[in-house]
Subunit: 478 residues, 2 copies
Amino acid sequence: MTSAAPSSTPRPLYLRIADNVTQQVSSGALRAGDRVPSLRQLGRQMRVSMTTALQAYLWLESRGYLESRPRSGFYVRTPFAKLIPEPQFRPRKTRPTEIDTDAVLSDIIEEASDPANIPFGLGSASPELFPSRKLNLILRRIVREHPDHSARYDFGSESLRRQIARRSLATGRALSPRDVTITSGALEAINLTLRAVASPGDVIAVESPTFFGILGTAASLKMKVIEIPTHPQEGMDLNALEEAIRRHRVKACIAMANCHNPLGYVLPDRAKKALVELGARYEVIIIEDDVYGDLDFSGSRPRTLKSFDRTESVILCSSFSKTLSPGYRVGWVAAGRFRDAVARLKFLTTVATPSLSQLVVAEFLESGGYDRHLKRLQLMFAQQAELVRKAIANHFPEGTRISRPAGGHLLWVELPARVNALKLYRAALDKHISILPGMLFSATGRFEHHIRINCGANFSPAHERALSTLGRLCERST
Amino acid sequence: MTSAAPSSTPRPLYLRIADNVTQQVSSGALRAGDRVPSLRQLGRQMRVSMTTALQAYLWLESRGYLESRPRSGFYVRTPFAKLIPEPQFRPRKTRPTEIDTDAVLSDIIEEASDPANIPFGLGSASPELFPSRKLNLILRRIVREHPDHSARYDFGSESLRRQIARRSLATGRALSPRDVTITSGALEAINLTLRAVASPGDVIAVESPTFFGILGTAASLKMKVIEIPTHPQEGMDLNALEEAIRRHRVKACIAMANCHNPLGYVLPDRAKKALVELGARYEVIIIEDDVYGDLDFSGSRPRTLKSFDRTESVILCSSFSKTLSPGYRVGWVAAGRFRDAVARLKFLTTVATPSLSQLVVAEFLESGGYDRHLKRLQLMFAQQAELVRKAIANHFPEGTRISRPAGGHLLWVELPARVNALKLYRAALDKHISILPGMLFSATGRFEHHIRINCGANFSPAHERALSTLGRLCERST
């Protein structure tokens, strides 16, 4: 992953420590079942704090190299092949079929805000993981200093656009504040971009599986989608994408290269580069959804597709909804030559994004608080993912496969083929457990035996019980 | 206007006082040029406070019955016919023509937030007229009491929907909280509704002139609009609408019956009823934009089109952007049988409207502060409108006609035919005065010599100077 980070971002200390350990494993110096040095020993050996040593071990645990045993320490894990298997890649010709996900979507909207449910469903982390206290302090001060914050239109606060531009360096492509248009979340950014670059009836290429919001927004704009088979680690099958482009005059392609929703991968740089070059060759606009990009577990900021763009054909959409708070609804788009068109569409749809939330986010970014918060969040999500993966492996039927995310807080779970995920979704809701059925992630009814699990919450006995219940329900949902 | 109010709203005291005065004018007891009783005398005669007496006189002034003379009192005005003429109704066959308003819209987006400009352009009142202090107090308390306000999705706060439902009584049609879906402003409500009820290529009937956001949002969804000639007081020509429906399979009709933007009228009840019945007869959905409906100068809440709806074919869209603060971006829609479809589209576009702003608005409504605030705003806007009308009449060329709004804070100004409003718009911007050219309010390039003037600001010498400059620029913009 090191090569993915632009040279401006030094690799964090704890990762360099972790590298030493993985090298010892690959060289055979450490073998499966061996106990690794205690935190105190490691700290002394490498001249780092015990916190850094712990960070390194937790990261290694999250990636499956180490396992912790209660009151005993960290051990090298059994070889990778014996670990929880990941979902399989099964390329399949896309048959355009009619599928109605409206009822499920309406369900989700009704149920999502029900606090009685164990929330494995929606794609937001748990409220207690967000820096609400700090954001509220900033918010209250801004309200004191700018009493008429709400009485002004703001088509994008200067200070927020400047902060976003400053952070863009770490993604491999420097943006200027003028490049950035503020939106009400990343999904609005994608919606506006689709309307700017394509028309009803146009064909949009999407990953398969992909975030259901992308499928829904394209469908609501009466655009056709063609699903490109997508490998759980390598991303879209570029041969299939090229064939689709040749056969269907594809207008745009929506891609999530970093911490994919739902697959969890961060694409290797060569795959990012190849995708962008393919888009450029056929003059297909690539709409990049980078909304989980700040949540890479490695601690380095992965490069965006935009950073490989030489022809102004990648439009970058992102937001702070996954890292700061979903309720702020502050997103943005760097729309390049479509900048004015996107700004007009924004003005004609939601007019403006509330100024207050923009000012709060800008100040949190400027204070450095955002970076410190991200580090905590990355570590936390890496641990949560591992805990939830283990629990699923324990409780679910033989044959279940679970993604191993490189970032974010979403797991893609492939159940045995006999399980009907839609039935499971409904049975789970009856038990006040919300999950998402795989069919939502396809426009052609694929992923009938897949579910998405949000692991962005402090893992508790209630979560463990809910996963155990889900595992039992699998057998009844066939 | 009394008949427009449902029986549950008693006519305010000051209007009943004002009625007495207008009766005396119509009976001839008071004639043009007569001085009316002083505030003290009137208060004593009618047994009301001097404040109520002043309210009555200011309202009479705003409607053109009285004029105030400095240090002398209020006088009955010269007969109506000699007053400032209102814009004319010139029905014209709609020729579909291509017109590109993109450049002007992009200008507006760039210039609108420039505080250096005298803001006669955008449709929001001046920040100092909004209850920022009170809203901020509520906001700060909510942040204290609900520290994680921003970490939750909210598809419409229960408390806000309850408050909106309670207020609906006064509009002649009781809604239940469940009928209401919260949106990010009324324009999003209209956008979502259009997507729910119509498809690209479908024909939408609109008033002419109409709010440019409606034209823009329909165009961006690749829907066709047909402009229905619209009378400055009586609204859409229903014969023309019926003909359009018969000839073009119109899918929906967007109408603003209360405090029309830009014409300023409140439709008489019989016109509202006739429009709704026409829609029902042809199964055309009527999308009602009621965003200025709370700003009727008469102090009674005018009825909505929705209140005449017997067939669930009126969808009511509104917001608090014109009355509380544009930056809150809290709107709503009562979408009837399209409720679920609209909620899904909302979820697939901006996901949710921030909870914090919803809670603030809900509490301000519940406290009764909103009603008190509205009363002040209505009176203020009525006065402002009259002041700006006078100043325009003084400074603009002979032949200028100005609307006499029944509510809101927008004036529609018809300039002599030789004036090119687009040139005037550009020349004004050079002098840091923002206005809107009439062409924005038509999809077919009509209203070349009309402009819209926002008079929702405390009238100051700077505004007077700006109007004087505009008047001079008219002669050079031919």
